[in-house]
Symmetry: C2
Subunit: 366 residues, 2 copies
Amino acid sequence: MTAAHDSFLQPVQRSHTAGDFSREEVGLANRNSGMPLEALRHDVTPAGMHFLLIHFDVPFVRSADEWRVELSGCVRNPLSLSVAEIQKLPARTLRVTLECAGNGRANLVPRWQTQPWEYGAVGTAEWTGTPLRHLLERAGLNESAVDIALLGADRGFDAGREHDYGRSLAPALAMDDNVLVAWAMNGSPLPPQNGFPLRLVVPGWYGMASVKWLKRIEVLAESFDGYQQAGNYIYRQKRGEPGVPVSTMRVKSLMAPPGIPDWYTRHRVVEAGPVELMGRAWSGGGVPVANVAVGVDGVWSEAALDPPQGEYAWRGWRYRWDAVLGEHVLQCRATDKNGTTQPLDPPWDNVGFGNNAVHHVHVTVR
Amino acid sequence: MTAAHDSFLQPVQRSHTAGDFSREEVGLANRNSGMPLEALRHDVTPAGMHFLLIHFDVPFVRSADEWRVELSGCVRNPLSLSVAEIQKLPARTLRVTLECAGNGRANLVPRWQTQPWEYGAVGTAEWTGTPLRHLLERAGLNESAVDIALLGADRGFDAGREHDYGRSLAPALAMDDNVLVAWAMNGSPLPPQNGFPLRLVVPGWYGMASVKWLKRIEVLAESFDGYQQAGNYIYRQKRGEPGVPVSTMRVKSLMAPPGIPDWYTRHRVVEAGPVELMGRAWSGGGVPVANVAVGVDGVWSEAALDPPQGEYAWRGWRYRWDAVLGEHVLQCRATDKNGTTQPLDPPWDNVGFGNNAVHHVHVTVR
């Protein structure tokens, strides 16, 4: 290993800041894609408007025919499966809302310097695939199996550590019929940036669990120690704490901003009179949304809920607002069936995970 | 008009800066989408990796059946056409590279505060549609016609001016068989964010000419004075100059970054030994690329060119580099058949249009 390489492995200095954004933060915002909030009008987010968080590079895969998934470790029958073989297993389609664990990070003061999401790192798609358990059952877990690592083809460095992007699932969750090895999104083959040809979809969890470009499954006799499992994606109040792993999504709601925007500020102008405010609300782990309140200048009213769209998909909400002249702040706030309600202010996390504070939209009514 | 609305119409103060990035710049970077540079490996950019610059909101269109295009003004037969009627006109498919006029803006020092593109605001797609001239011929231009305005369904404010996004084409260009009213991208109906159900595609020009969500065509007896034509998208050395309108793309090339990235900095690590560098080069107005030079630490060599993919599509280039240990700067530099070569340093423009300076990629070889 050369000196140059050693020096590269020193992580770049990053910090908390309440100030303007670094070139690196902007580079990540340009590469990764937020869902434009007007896309909340769609029950299912069109591919290309769904959020994208890509840790390393999108792998270049010419054809699904060149892809195999290796399943090894604490199993009776190690497997090497082609995409075609996986597509012969029993398939199902689930409508699933996925949110990036870092969504809302840029709204924390101070924020940790990394992908500076505001509100848009979310989307809902129809994923078609086979339950992961069908692969695991074919391989046959040994009794020594305690964790299942899922590794993608995307490789790079994070905080000085080189690794393939990877996450793990406890065996009970991995055997859940809703955890899919998916090959289609919204009825079409996965787009390259969404994981072509195969990806994991873990409904109810923040997006980091849904490993894209799934290449290897390793059944382990100990807990997976990959960086994205054991180092990153952990709620910590302060750096260096052991912390609590990020897992299911927290209850949250967003509003499709009414009216028309200003290009630079995205401030909204709305015509006076009746306006149908609408948006979406969701929670994690299959917990249903119980209600959504809409705030107009701090006065809260209950929104009507659209019919549910499945256990793991966001739920639409609507509220008729009689818009009167002037400046207004609109908010939305969901509560789930566990009785958990979105906080009014961002919950603190050292690197900005799990910010489910209420969405504010500032509008001028004319 | 209320005082509140008047105050809104005062444009937000923006400025030139060499410093960190504002929250508004980051908000735009999150909403709009750069093409991840690894997507340069694709001849045709998959939908969802093509760049997106959306001035206002993506219109919510339930079905192409609800859409009509109105064609009026200095014509003998004003038209109101459904999408189905337009799809019955003679169709063609063109492979077209589109680049945002503001691509590279964030690499200028100082830069104007708006969408802070670095390199990724480009993409190549196969657009299917009917030449705009078929609509114009059915309407019949009067002799008084001097400009043709094309207006989208996206409406908002820019620099305090409320307008539908709109651009114009001189009649000779509008009658060019390569200027399409397109309904498909890469063989599928346009995704909402790419202009569903109908958009203009003006090959060879920067992307601002290719109006999305095309709703109205107005044949004018004078020059179109819309903000995006007469106020914005004008090369100016200083604010307030009359300037020169932005039109066809300048010669440019990009490199797919070799090796693997660091998450935060996107710095690259490459294995020592032979590496195939590759990328794409293009110019504007149908001018072919003549050659591409590859720079390694300031020493230039000629790259091999892939076969051309059409008059308006980028051209692949390849170069075998024997990577040796250490830190290196890789560059690429295209020259077109007019003899125009990319500059080594960004050409100055007041708001950062037309930056076609050579692409630099910093790598560590291990």
